[in-house]
């Protein structure tokens, strides 16, 4: 008899625990307030990707020159001036439209 009562109590207790757990798992209502603040920090992450991604795309066209040291840039400009003078000199020696607009090999403009 005692055994039967003990099994019965255990069963009722187990049923109660299972019911509570089922209720908690299937409750559709708003999540309790302590959980919500933990989700909030995620919000800034969603704002960052579009902004940074856009910035990363925009920056490269602005910065290629900055990868070239100033000394190299100056040497390129000087070389460009020499090539342009040589081309202009050729034009002066035999002036023609084609001589004036010959293509340059200068890396400064190509």
């Amino acid at each position: 008899m005692e055994m039967l009562l003990m099994v019965l109590c255990m069963s009722v207790f187990g049923l109660a625990v299972a019911a509570i757990a089922f209720g908690a798992a299937t409750r559709p209502g708003p999540s309790s307030s302590p959980v919500q603040p933990e989700l909030q920090p995620v919000k800034p992450v969603k704002a960052v990707p579009p902004g940074r991604f856009f910035a990363d795309i925009v920056l490269p066209p602005i910065s290629p020159g900055s990868h070239v040291p100033t000394e190299v840039l100056l040497a390129q400009i000087e070389n460009h001036v020499r090539l342009e003078q040589a081309a202009a000199q050729s034009f002066l020696e035999s002036p023609s439209h084609s001589q004036l607009h010959t293509k340059t090999t200068s890396v400064f403009v190509n």
Binding site: T70, L74, A88, F91, L100
Partner: protein, 156 residues
């Protein structure tokens, strides 16, 4: 060593050329030194006897002013013709990339010499016009080439 007639003294007799050169002072310009700076009063014309002179203009590159070479003049050529052309201010800077010797001809001495010897003044002025005209034509062609590139780039 045979000394070629400087471009400014072309078509002058040896005696006429010597009289002009006698008006000048020989100056040694150390490597890297300025012969004149942009905006300086142009009191003297220079004939390059030995070495080389770089003519530069200032350009803003990455927020810094850099001297960019626009022309190089060598032995026998003339620099500083602003000394004879008003407003007598240098419109370029001139530096010596290596040890260079020039003959500096003061404007006032030249003016007096030309006044006393008009035929010589005429020949020298013609030679100077060739130097100035060549610079003008060269830069005109360079400018047009640059403009053409801009047009092609902007209309592409």
């Amino acid at each position: 060593m045979a000394y070629e007639q400087p471009e400014l003294l072309k078509d002058l007799t040896a005696e006429e050329a010597q009289l002009i050169l006698a008006l000048g002072t020989r100056i040694a310009v150390p490597s890297g030194a300025f012969l004149f700076q942009l905006g300086d009063p142009a009191e003297r014309l220079f004939l390059i006897e030995r070495g080389r002179i770089r003519l530069t203009l200032p350009m803003q590159i990455r927020g810094r002013q850099e001297d960019v070479v626009v022309e190089e003049r060598t032995s026998g050529q003339t620099v500083g013709w602003s000394a004879l052309i008003p407003p007598h201010k240098f419109t370029l800077a001139a530096t010596a990339p290596l040890e260079t010797e020039v003959i500096a001809l003061p404007r006032e001495k030249l003016r007096k010499h030309f006044a006393a010897n008009p035929a010589v003044g005429y020949k020298v002025t013609l030679n100077l016009a060739v130097v100035i005209g060549h610079r003008l034509q060269l830069f005109q062609a360079m400018w047009l080439r640059g403009m053409q590139r801009m047009v092609e780039k902007n209309s592409a």
